[in-house]
């Protein structure tokens, strides 16, 4: 057994203290033959500190495309020659999307907009949309609409948005290679305000942007410092027309190593499968990740790409004897 896993067994599994950056790096550098042991330990940590439930979420794009920012992985930036066009979702369709999501047993519904930050029009749409969902659908509403002012944070709280997603995307040292129109620190500032407001903080990122293994470890440590309620883990799905459109996808084993390492860095967080898992991990890998530290999934489609059918994931959870977290357990 590699020393780092022995250390993690005591420190993380028994004492609930996450690995630091050096520890995460050691896990990310484990040779293939030790990957099953790392996943097994991460799974035990998840079961011990989070339990067997899996949190299921659906997401929808309220405003797609035409974003003024230049996140190099994103097909919704208006600065690249991506084929994604700007489009707004109307409120009845938004409510319908929430209903469809609730039907899967999901407890979370996240409304997303491709913006630097919300303007008055978006805040109005959001207010109307959240109220309409709350009136008709039994589901918790989360939002992800970019960088916020303090007033906007307060408004979201008042609307009843219970969790706010704002991804740091990658570690601080690599961020300027991925985004030039705003800074990592600006994102951090929004997260700080969200945290102080009492909303749950959801913050993760994308692996496979060209960051080094060391930078992946740096990212895990920075997320652990933020201590978010939830960490969505995406794997790059290279989008045509974006600066990262020609990158190759993360190797399945590296993705699994990262899942185990992030879990060992953050024993109590909700670690969610987000975009790119279909491409990077496939069916078999998806299963391995759920047995290696993941305890939440986005079901159905993503914002501009499609996922596998929700039923496929729900059947897998049943097969793994992992109950879907009920709404009563989240309130």
């Amino acid at each position: 057994m590699p020393e780092i896993l022995d250390q993690a067994r005591t420190q993380v599994l028994e004492n609930g203290v996450g690995l630091d950056e050096a520890g995460v790096l050691a896990v990310l550098n484990l040779p293939d033959e030790h990957l099953p042991a790392a996943l097994q330990l991460a799974h035990e940590v998840r079961m011990r500190w989070c339990g067997p439930e899996v949190e299921v979420e659906g997401i929808v794009s309220l405003k797609t495309g035409g974003c003024p920012e230049d996140c190099h992985f994103c097909s919704q930036s208006g600065l690249f020659t991506s084929p994604v066009r700007a489009v707004w979702l109307d409120i009845p369709s938004l409510v319908e999307a929430a209903k469809q999501t609730a039907k899967t047993g999901a407890t979370e519904f996240c409304i997303v907009a491709a913006v630097r930050g919300p303007d008055d029009r978006l805040m109005r749409q959001l207010r109307e949309g959240v109220a309409a969902i709350q009136a008709e659908v039994d589901i918790q509403v989360a939002a992800s609409v970019g960088m916020l002012t303090q007033e906007q944070v307060d408004e979201l709280v008042e609307m009843g948005v219970h969790r706010y997603n704002h991804n740091l995307e990658t570690c601080r040292s690599y961020f300027p290679n991925v985004v030039t129109t705003h800074s990592w620190e600006e994102r951090w500032e929004t997260l700080r305000m969200v945290r102080e407001s009492g909303m749950e903080v959801c913050c993760g990122g994308i692996l496979g942007l060209g960051e080094s293994v060391e930078q992946r470890a740096e990212f895990a440590a920075q997320l652990a410092e933020l201590d978010p309620h939830e960490v969505p883990l995406n794997f790059l799905n290279p989008r045509p027309g974006t600066p990262l459109g020609d990158r190759s996808v993360v190797e399945g084993k590296d993705a699994l190593r990262a899942i185990a390492a992030f879990r060992l860095a953050m024993p109590r967080t909700i670690l969610r499968y987000a975009g790119g898992r279909e491409l990077t991990l496939g069916d078999l890998g998806t299963r391995s990740g759920l047995l290696g530290g993941i305890n939440a999934v986005i079901v159905g489609n993503y914002l501009t790409t499609l996922g596998r059918p929700a039923t496929t994931d729900l059947e897998l959870l049943q097969d793994l004897k992992m109950p879907v977290k009920a709404l009563s357990a989240t309130l």
Binding site: T64, P83, V84, Q100, N301, T305, L306, G307, P309
Partner: protein
């Protein structure tokens, strides 16, 4: 939701229409180049996990809304496609 890349449907219907190189479509709905030119095998594979982006009939970029279940794509000339 996996993209329907199996073949064309009449214009303006709500059943999803020709994927890349689908008979009747002149343009690949993923990359927007002629279906009769070049190799669209990768486009066809990618379309399993992506909605169409270009109208197969006129090559216009469509307004596409992805939903938790399904998607809707609108060509200003040829109308809406859903799946």
């Amino acid at each position: 939701m996996s993209g329907d890349t199996t073949g064309p449907a009449p214009l303006g219907t709500s059943t999803g229409f020709g994927g890349p190189a689908g008979a009747g479509a002149s343009w690949c709905d993923r990359c927007g180049t002629p279906t009769g030119e070049g190799d669209h095998t990768a486009c066809r594979a990618a379309r399993q996990l992506e909605p169409p982006r270009y109208c197969g009939h006129c090559r216009r970029r469509m307004k596409v809304q992805v939903l938790p279940v399904g998607w809707a794509a609108v060509c200003v000339e040829h109308g809406e496609t859903r799946a």
